[in-house]
């Protein structure tokens, strides 16, 4: 379980930019997806390693880079699942998405602060796997004695290739949230869920 966290460090260190406007179809596209991924990971790492920027500036710059590539709306929906999503009114859906995305981003930036050059992280890009209109790009992150396997899942959206899920050592973010949301909704109401999401993720030292 603690390994998961190193994985998340790797994940966030590896957040990529996708200024994707690839309109080529098929294998060529997944190739271009891979190259763009690499380029953009480098761009993000550059920001992280830049000594002239403070934490807040890094946060903002990275957010600018990251926002276009992650399909947050889709991730919010998928993490609830069809059955639960349709239980929400449009207003609730909006609130849910806002809070979910906020939480997602907060979690990212929190983990990203754990990244440092000292980790001597090495990224190994594995061959992308295409299935239908989706591409899975595995990235192996080697940091010191730990190895973390990430998989970025892309799909073709109107805005180009976007990420809809990330797997860390086989654990999908969407699945992980889905199981938790299911639990909350099976025990309580939608309002309960929205309430829980509202609370900023606070460090729980004892509890």
């Amino acid at each position: 379980m603690k390994k998961l966290s190193i994985a998340i460090v790797g994940l966030l260190a590896v957040v990529m930019v996708f200024a994707g406007n690839a309109r080529v179809i098929g294998a060529q596209e997944s190739k271009s997806a891979e190259t763009t991924l690499k380029n953009n990971i480098d761009a993000v790492l550059e920001i992280l390693e830049n000594p002239d920027l403070d934490e807040q500036q890094k946060k903002e710059k990275i957010e600018d880079i990251v926002d276009p590539i992650f399909d947050y709306q889709l991730m919010a929906m998928l993490s609830l699942g069809r059955q639960n999503w349709s239980r929400l009114s449009p207003d609730q859906q909006q609130t849910f998405t806002n809070r979910f995305v906020k939480r997602l981003k907060a979690s990212y930036f929190d983990k990203i602060s754990m990244y440092s050059k000292d980790l001597k992280t090495q990224m190994n890009y594995k061959p992308a796997q295409t299935s239908g209109s989706k591409v899975r790009i595995p990235v192996e992150v080697n940091a010191k004695e730990e190895k973390v396997n990430l998989v970025y899942k892309f799909y073709q959206s109107d805005a180009g290739w976007q990420i809809y899920d990330v797997e860390i050592n086989g654990v999908s973010i969407i699945q992980s949230y889905r199981s938790q949301f299911n639990q909350v909704l099976s025990r309580g109401t939608v309002e309960d869920l929205l309430e829980e999401l509202k609370q900023p993720a606070e460090p729980q030292s004892t509890q």
Partner: protein
């Protein structure tokens, strides 16, 4: 000492094995998709649906059905009460015992030393790894592991260092008996949280027993020595990963569910490989 251990192991094995075989069937049913049908919502969805401009919600769910199978599966968790309680126990143990101890230890012992200790303990997991790789008919990983063991035992000074990885580019291939059983189709039973060890399931818990016999460091003394070594190994590991537990927990809405689900996904992945 060996006899004591054997007796204890046998009793544990027998009890849990009985449990496993009783529950293997519901798991099989579960994995065959006997699950509340979420698709019924298909009919009513258009009524709730608002055209979101560029976004056709309906289509989105259709295109991403990969999340529907395992995600919608109702997890069979008959011991959820106990599991939650044990999770809380482990949580308190972490914050009240393990974390302070590991922090103190990290303050005293330099990080390269602790990393070497980690490598040492990992090194002696070789018999478990090689045998389970062989049982899963994974010849090449087993060969890799053997070369790693030979090389690291000598050049790597009994495993404190890992020249096999740095010079020969050979990675460890982690396998354990739980994965072996899983790869042969043995269902996981149901979630079971172990004291100190954390989330597990019936199959993986039982499978720990045979692996225990394959761990050379357990034979160094009596059962207390073995337990002490395990505790030290855990302390050392924790000292290398301070802060991670808290961060993961912070992100979760339901920590128990997060752990249960993450463990399950992680194991499924490990078995598949």
């Amino acid at each position: 000492m060996a006899r004591e251990k054997l007796r204890l192991a046998f009793c544990l094995f027998a009890v849990l094995a009985a449990g496993l075989f009783c529950f293997a069937e519901p798991v099989a049913a579960q994995s065959m998709g006997i699950v509340p049908d979420a698709r019924d919502k298909n009919g009513s969805a258009p009524e709730n649906q608002e055209s979101e401009g560029e976004f056709d919600q309906f289509e989105a769910f259709e295109d991403f059905e990969e999340f529907d199978q395992p995600g919608q599966k109702k997890v069979y968790d008959p011991l959820s009460g106990y599991n939650r309680a044990m999770t809380t126990f482990n949580d308190k143990f972490y914050f009240w015992v393990l974390k302070p101890a590991a922090t103190g230890y990290a303050w005293v012992a330099p990080q390269p030393v602790r990393t070497s200790v980690h490598r040492f303990f990992r090194h002696w997991g070789y018999p478990v790894r090689v045998i389970n790789n062989l049982l899963q008919l994974k010849g090449e990983p087993a060969a890799d592991e053997t070369i790693r063991f030979a090389f690291n035992s000598t050049v790597g000074l009994l495993g404190f260092f890992d020249p096999a990885k740095n010079w020969l580019d050979l990675e460890p291939h982690r396998e354990d008996f739980g994965q072996t059983l899983g790869s042969y189709g043995v269902g996981d039973g149901f979630p079971l949280v172990l004291p100190f060890f954390g989330p597990s399931n019936v199959r993986d818990s039982i499978a720990m027993v045979p692996d225990l016999f394959l761990y050379p460091l357990d034979y160094l003394g009596n059962i207390y020595v073995a337990a002490g070594l395990t505790a030290y190994e855990r302390l050392n590991y924790a000292s290398l990963h301070l802060g991670e537990y808290e961060k993961l927990k912070k992100d979760s809405l339901d920590w128990y569910i997060f752990l249960r689900n993450a463990y399950q996904q992680n194991r499924e992945q490990a078995i598949k490989e």
